[in-house]
Symmetry: none
Subunit: 226 residues, 2 copies
Amino acid sequence: MQQAKIYEQVVDRIRDLLESGELHPGDKLPPERKLAELFKVSRSSLREAIRALQESGVLESRRGDGTYISLPVGSDLLAPFAEVLTQQRVRLWQFFQFRIAIEPQIARLAAQERTDGHLEALHHLLDMQEREVIADEKNGFADLHFHQLIAMATGNPLFVDLVTRAEAKLAETRNESLQSEERMQRSLLAHKEIYSTIAGRDQDGAENAMRTHLQQIEKLVFCDRE
Amino acid sequence: MQQAKIYEQVVDRIRDLLESGELHPGDKLPPERKLAELFKVSRSSLREAIRALQESGVLESRRGDGTYISLPVGSDLLAPFAEVLTQQRVRLWQFFQFRIAIEPQIARLAAQERTDGHLEALHHLLDMQEREVIADEKNGFADLHFHQLIAMATGNPLFVDLVTRAEAKLAETRNESLQSEERMQRSLLAHKEIYSTIAGRDQDGAENAMRTHLQQIEKLVFCDRE
DNA sequence: CTTCGGATATTGGTCGGACCATAGTGTACA
DNA sequence: TGTACACTATGGTCCGACCAATATCCGAAG
């Protein structure tokens, strides 16, 4: 029963080195062969880790030269804090903090800008979610898209993009406490509440309802474990 | 003679298959060994391509089972609004709407989470901005980074990333009304106000000060023309 | 002494093959 | 009929070799 794949472990170890300050942006990494030996893994696994880190913009390989830690964007002025920018893993709680700061404002705007078309789409989605709950399907499909539809109701593609990325990232770390039957019913209720405030163009109500909804989820996620 | 690396070619070919509709979200890919043979590459290179695509959320591998195309956004439910996501052009006012919704919340969090180190950096930046105003330099360097520093004070890299992207995008369309001497003085004053609220850990004050600041800028940009 | 050019070493990129670990499938037995 | 086992397919890991681009060093030319 081996859970973590080797290359994932390597990714983590390299990120750790960055956060602990043992490696700095611009540094040149040891050659792959030495790194592999150092980490006690095959060069193949090490390379897959490098590919992953490269794809997320942390590393940069130059054939015949070496592998470097990417320089963060921005100027020297930001240097003291700059490492936060590119590398540094994003924790789960940071995502929740992010959503709780952003989405209530989106809901507020949605209440202001929504059209009847958006309302209809939301209503349709709620129906679907209700059927999911009754059938006890745990795919969470409707739940996932509710927040996207709210963002669309603002009429501003920037919000849609933002929420979409957040949802996608959050889906990676989906945990079980989000899948209990009780939680799904609570979620449905909260969504209905948010829907009605937006339908009634109640901006304050929408903002508060959304914040309450997200805080409930947060509490569930962080108190449920261990 | 910079030949594209093999695994990059493979990444592109797979992305092409997705966009051309020959592969759909949820589909199961052929086994790695067959795919490698099909693409005429080694399994190692194919796997590095898969790692990269996996890191960007396109693919998903399950040991003993297969590799699947992840299904984040593209459901039929969103189809009516989907154009917004991909290629609707983002208007300038949408950026302002975005910032006015987001940054006051960031300022609020900053007032809560800031350390003395952040405060010091902010103070230093304000000094620099003051010298700019006095010297009548119009580079707007300090002005640009003020909002970034605020985001850093939240301690959450997600906000930093967000603000950085927004600033970068806005810098492209920088217009002249932002460069007048009067505006720069007003901006400096507003920044000082925001600074003092954050220094005093006044969350409501910070939120309001930031909102007022942004609304002033918005007014300037949109009333100045014609 | 400086500069240029080529030989050499270093390093990432690609390859093929072997074996391991796990999830899904089918089959034989109770 | 149902359960447990063996088998198979598939992703994960390792090894060792060679290729290709780049850096470095060193000697010859100016």
